[in-house]
Symmetry: none
Subunit: 420 residues, 2 copies
């Protein structure tokens, strides 16, 4: 079974928006065991969208087309689909009501243009999920199918995982099961991990029961992904369990902070929860990013008390009891960590103080970051030097600080150096 | 003149690497006044690369193919080019020496596999610039041309700007300049903006001096992009200035918070700076996202004092003087805003308190958010109801709260409703 992706939008061709949807869908298709040999970007032009869809359908069994389902004049994917199917567009009263309902629930009048989103090619099936106002469509063309989803990533993902994936699986009638497991690591570079894993990699090359890939994912960690293709889910899981054990053996448990979609912050919150600890944060250069990541996980409130974003030295001194002197220092960051525990009445804390750049501050080089953790009134501080731009320095500071607390809560006295 | 982009690499189709090269090249082509109607991703497969190149060349005058020029066995773009040109590959001694030289200069032995990079299709012109070890190629096919560049972004960019751009300009003999301008809005839906702009859109349809497109970009705002193609940069700028004025006239200045790459937070910081105001934040459901966005802009420190992430009701009461009673309320969020000014000694502040979901909290429906702004000791609070998931509720809360302060600093008493 083959499935292509067609991303619609002139802004994608002009490079004003980067098409990340095709890559995400390609990854999902791979996990479903479906080949995706071509992926195409095309602009908001009826003839060209039609020809892109026709070409894709000629080469493959299914096509996912993203974008061009909005309410405006340049959203013409519906028209292109009708043309490819050789049918007319019909307005669906049911969809009109659903869209109308969305606006009513917000006490807004529905602009008439939104009605265009209720136009459905005859014979197309409407996706039962409508996360936004754009309905998704499954358009049969002979034995083949074109799925149309919005270009808005979260709407597209909801429809793909909640609807298209099942339909594709059914069509593929793929007896092979492809499962993958992602081990999220922090503390070593890709090349260092590759060296630690060369034995595993060599063995998998000789006997490919599974594939192993590295995915550098910034604040989400450096991922080691294992993918197994087997006759049944049980077989695939057995292979993944064995290979996960081999990887953990080779690189050491402490580098692996989470599995699959679990994050560094959820791992830290879970460790705190297990020990009955409440958590506070004091942030400088991260500006609230650490707190923001912590509350991204539902249920953070039973552990996370709060964060003080002390962006000025004065605030650090007044609210956290930071002593006079340089604020990017072991003394300052330690005082911040202890001050955070006092201020929020927390059992443990994380503090960061540094220079995100681009220019140096008070004679301190950009990328210089001090981090401290306080656990049971014991404080440890360490200095990091990141060779990154402002944004990546703040992101690496966030995950590195969370990881420092994770290791302390695990009582692993190892300091990963997460940026070479 | 039309030029397509073909990105080669199975990792692109599998979503392990996101293809940013095509977008970058598309942007460069637009600035050269060259149309790019299709962009294709294809895996490391000889037949499929050949067919992608043939299709692209059939539709366009030129093609830029990225990737597959490396030294390994799966780097087969050279072979595909020879096949499309109908010629043989010949090893270029000159390139062998250049690659050899690169390794020697690094005191490293050249792996024999690198010799493959010296294989050139007969009749192809080698790019004089070799930033890495992969040589770029210009392959004439009749009157048309295929440029082959490495997939490594910095190598590709160096070759494109230093070599391909000039050759394309010469071939296009194109004096046209294409410039675009993005107006970032917040407060109305895409369909509502489209209705306000229908006069402008209709006029541009009749007389297309410029194109107008909407780009929904989440926390970056809903963008209205104007693109003008003209004989000279001056002409293009004149058109953009006139159309920007028309758009501002049609939708009202207050909806437009920034232009091009300027962000909501930089707009707010600039307004504070202009009034000599310092800024403080008190955050609940956003967990630090507002502060984190503010410090993303270099130089925020002259305005932004800090943020208190008060994630527990107790912290809100103890540190911000929130009265007893419900914390998602006008009274609580107003106290938070005033408490933030006191705590950080700031002239103005933003406060948010709400339920990000997924489940309700203390009987309050998910998506319910109270926001307050304090300016000159005057506090205003408003209630929002977002129909989103947890993460997007936090993001929309962040930009909406910043926008609320922006409007107050501009003394525009209008409350945008920024979420359909």
């Amino acid at each position: 079974m083959k499935c292509e992706v067609v991303a619609v939008g002139t802004e994608l061709l002009l490079g004003q928006v980067i098409d990340t949807n095709s890559a995400w869908i390609g990854e999902q298709l791979a996990l479903l065991g479906i080949d995706s040999h071509f992926q195409t970007k095309v602009g908001d032009n009826l003839d060209r969208i039609r020809s892109a869809l026709t070409d894709a359908l000629g080469r493959s069994d299914a096509v996912v087309v993203c974008g061009g389902l909005g309410p405006t004049q340049d959203d013409i994917t519906r028209d292109a689909l009708a043309a490819v199917m050789g049918v007319e567009l019909r307005r669906s009263e049911e969809i009109v009501e659903r869209i109308q309902g969305i606006f009513t629930s917000r006490n807004r009048a529905m602009p008439l243009s939104n009605l265009r989103q209720a136009d459905v090619p005859e014979g197309a099936v409407v996706c039962p999920l409508i996360p936004g106002t754009a309905p998704g469509l499954a358009c049969p063309v002979g034995e083949k199918v074109i799925y149309a989803v919005p270009g808005v990533p979260w709407e597209m993902k909801e429809m793909f995982t909640g609807w298209i994936a099942d339909d594709l699986r059914r069509r593929a009638a793929n007896s092979a099961v492809i499962l993958s497991r992602t081990l999220r690591t922090w503390g070593e570079s890709e090349s260092a991990l590759a060296e630690m894993l060369d034995g595993v990699i060599a063995r998998l090359d000789r006997n490919p029961t599974a594939t192993l890939a590295f995915l550098a994912s910034g604040m989400e960690g450096l991922k080691v992904r294992l993918t197994a293709k087997a006759g049944s889910e049980t077989e695939a899981l057995t292979v993944l369990d064995a290979e996960e054990a081999a990887v953990r053996e080779a690189i050491g448990d402490h580098l692996i902070f989470a599995t699959d979609s679990e994050t560094m912050e959820s791992a830290v919150l879970e460790l705190c929860r297990g020990r009955g600890f409440s958590l506070a944060v004091a942030e400088s250069l991260t500006g609230g990013m650490i707190g923001s990541r912590l509350v991204a996980a539902p249920g953070a409130s039973d552990v996370f008390r709060g964060s003080l974003v002390a962006y000025s030295g004065e605030v650090k001194r007044n609210l956290l009891g930071v002593p006079d002197g340089p604020v990017v220092s072991a003394a300052a960051v330690s005082a911040m960590a202890e001050g955070a525990c006092d201020l929020f009445g927390a059992d443990c804390s994380i503090a960061v103080s540094g220079v995100a750049g681009p220019s140096e501050s008070e004679g301190v080089k950009p990328g210089t970051v001090w981090m401290a953790t306080t656990v049971d009134a014991q404080t440890q501080a360490r200095r990091f030097l990141f060779p990154f731009d402002r944004e990546r320095t703040r992101q690496f500071t966030t995950i590195s600080a969370l990881n420092a607390l994770r290791l302390r809560l695990l009582q692993i006295d190892k300091d990963p150096v997460p940026w070479h």
